[in-house]
Symmetry: none
Subunit: 205 residues, 4 copies
C-alpha cells in the first residue's frame, strides 16, 4: 500500500492541524463536486489556506484523495479482519453487514470519489481491487464448505454478495440515519443468508 510522501509540514502540531483541515476540505470538495471537478482551489478555499500550502502537505490532488482513502480502507479492512464465525451464522452475518453498512455510510462520499477516480488513475482502481479482493476472499473462505458439490464457485458467489451489499449502500440508499440502516441491514441479512442456503442445496449440473 503506497504511502504518499508529503513534502513538509506535519512536524509541528500547527502543521498537523493544517493537514487535517486540508483533509477535511478535500473530503468536502470531493463530496460536493466529485474528484475530477473538485479543484485544488476549492479545497484550499474550504480549508482557509493559500494555494501553495496544499502542496506543502500533498504532492498533488491525487495524493490528497489517497490519504482520505487511507482511513476508509483501514476501517473497511477492519471489518474483514473481525472474527466472522459465531454460533449463530445469521446473527454473525448481520453483525458483519451492519459494520460494513456503517463504515460505508460514514465514508460514502469518499467511496464515491474513489470509484470515480478509479476510472482515471490505475492506482485507485488497484487499491479498490485490493480492498474488494480482501472481502471476496474472506467471504469465499466462509462459503467454501457449504458449496462443496454444488458446482458453485465460492469466489463468484462471494463477489455477488459483496457487490450486493456495496451496491445497495453506495447507490444512495442510506445515509447516516440509524433506522434506515437497520432496515437495510435486516433485508440484506435475509437475502444473504437465504441465498447462501439455497446455493448449498443446489446439486452440480
Amino acid at each position: 500500500m503506497r504511502e504518499v510522501s508529503d513534502g513538509g509540514g506535519r512536524r509541528t502540531s500547527r502543521g498537523e492541524r493544517t493537514r487535517l483541515r486540508l483533509l477535511d476540505a478535500t473530503r468536502e470538495a470531493v463530496a460536493v463536486r466529485g474528484y475530477v471537478a473538485a479543484r485544488v482551489e476549492d479545497i484550499v478555499a474550504l480549508a482557509g489556506v493559500s494555494h501553495g500550502t496544499f502542496y506543502t502537505y500533498f504532492e498533488n490532488k491525487a495524493a490528497a484523495l489517497d490519504a482520505l482513502i487511507g482511513t476508509t480502507a483501514e476501517e473497511l479492512q477492519a471489518v474483514v479482519d473481525e472474527p466472522w464465525d459465531g454460533p449463530d451464522g445469521a446473527a454473525t452475518i448481520e453483525t458483519v453487514i451492519g459494520h460494513f453498512v456503517a463504515v460505508f455510510a460514514t465514508h460514502a462520499a469518499v467511496v464515491r470519489a474513489w470509484l470515480e477516480a478509479s476510472a482515471h488513475e490505475t492506482h485507485f482502481a488497484e487499491r479498490l481491487r485490493e480492498v474488494r479482493g480482501g472481502y471476496v476472499r474472506r467471504v469465499a473462505e466462509v462459503l467454501t464448505p457449504a458449496l462443496a458439490g454444488t458446482g458453485h464457485d465460492p469466489a463468484l458467489a462471494a463477489s455477488a454478495l459483496v457487490a450486493m451489499v456495496e451496491g445497495a449502500v453506495t447507490q444512495g440508499v442510506v445515509d447516516r440515519d440509524e433506522i434506515e440502516q437497520g432496515e437495510l441491514v435486516r433485508t440484506l441479512r435475509s437475502l444473504w443468508v437465504g441465498g447462501v442456503v439455497r446455493l448449498g442445496e443446489d446439486v452440480e449440473g
Copy 2:
C-alpha cells in the same frame, strides 16, 4: 441535440455511415481511456475523420456518449418490459437474469463510462437513475405479494437484488464468454431465489 433525420431515404447514406463510425470510435475511446480522459481528438482519430466533423454529428462530447447510452438503455429497458411471470418462478428469474447479464456483457464499456460520467454530469446520473428505477420498480412489484407482513420494504430488497446483479457483472467478473456467463447466471439465480424465499419467511419485527 441535433438528431440526424432518418425519416426516409437510404439507411446508410454517407452521413449515416460517418455517424456510425463516430459512435464506434466513441465507444472504443471511452472503453480504453474512460469518459473524461477520452478526448474528442482520440475519437476523431479512431473514426478517421477531421476534428470538425465530430461536431457535425454531435453537439458535444456528452452528446456522443448519450447516443451510445441510448442503445444500452433501450436494451436494458427491453429486459424490464419482458413478461416476467411464468409457471416456474426460478426459471423465469434465471431467464431474466440471463438477459440482463448478456446485455451488460455486451455493453460493459459503455456502462462503465456511463457510471463515470454520472459523477460529472447530472444528466447521466439521472438517466442512470431512471433505468435503475425501472428495474427496481419492476422487481419490487413482483416481490410485493411475497413480502407482505415481513416488514421488508420491497423497494429496498429490489434495490439490493438489482445491485447484486449489476455489481457482479460490471466488476469485470464476466466478459462475452458464454460459459462464464452461464455459471454466473446460475449462481445469481440461486442467490436471488433463495434470498427472496427467506425474505418471505421473515416475520415483522
Copy 3:
C-alpha cells in the same frame, strides 16, 4: 537528431505561415529575454496568435527552440561539410572561418539561447556537443599530419581553435556588420594559421 513532433497544422499554407510566425516570434522573444525568461505568452503575443495555437505547432517551449536550433545546426554543419582543402591553406582557413563567423552572426541570438538551454535540458547540451564535435573532429583531421611527432593532441588543439572562433563570435564582438566581420575574420585567420604552424614546430617533450 530528434525531430520534434508537431501536433497539427502545417498541412495547409495557412498553417505553414502560422508556424513560421511562431518560429520568428520565438526567436525574437528568446533574443530579448533569454530562453528561460521568454514565456509562451510572450511568443504568442509577438506572433499575434492565441495561446493554444502555440501548442498546435509545438509540443512545448523546448520544441520551439529545438526547431529554431534545427536551422542553425544545419547551416553550421554545412560549413563542416564544405571542402576545406585548397591550394592555399591560409586562404582556405579564412574562407571557412568567414562562413563560420557569418553563420554565427546570423544566428547569434539562437546560439545564445541554445547555450543557456544547455544548462537546463540535457537534450540541448547533447545537440550542442554533437555540432561542436563535428567541428572538432574535422579540424583535428586536418591538423593531424602537421602535428605528428609534436606531442600535441590534434583533438585538444582543434577544441581550442574552435573555442576561439566560437567564443570570439558569441561574446558579442560582432553583429551583422560585414566590415567588422571581415576584420575579425582576418585576425582569427592569422591567429589560427600562426598557431597551427607553431604547433607543428614543437618537438615532443
Copy 4:
C-alpha cells in the same frame, strides 16, 4: 546585500560556519543542476539547515551565487594582476595560461553557473564582462606594440585569445588532473605564441 560582518571576533563562529556550509551547498547544488534549476530547497537540504536560515545569510538566491562568484573573480583577477613580462615571452605566457587554467579547473562549476546566470540577470553579465574586460585589456596592452602597422585591433585579438583559453577550459576539456592540464597548457601556449607572432608579421591591408 547583507554582508556578514567579519571585522573582528573568531573567524569561525557558529554563524560563520553555517554561512560556509551554505556556500558549499550552493556550489554543489549549482554544479549538479545549474543555477536556475537549483532550488533554495536543494541548497538548504545539502547544508542541513532550515529553509529560513538561508535568508539569514543571503538576501536571495542570486546573492548566494554572487558570493560564490566573489572568490572566483578574485582569483581570476589575481592572474591579471601578476607581472606578465619576463625575459622569455613564451615562458611567461605559459605561466599565465597555466594559472588561468588552474583557476578555471578549480572553479569550473561556479563559472558555468555564472555563465548561465548571465543570461537571466544583468548583474552577472556585467560582472562577467568586467572580469573578461580586465583580461582583454591586459592582453591587448601587451599585444599593442607588436601589432603596430599590422591593421589588427589589439582588443579584437586579445578577445579571441582569451576566448580560446576560456572556451577550451570551460567546455569540459580539463578537470583537476594536473597532467591533462599540463598538456592543454602547452598546446594553448603554442597556439597563442604562434598566433601572436603571425599577427605581428601581417601588413596592413
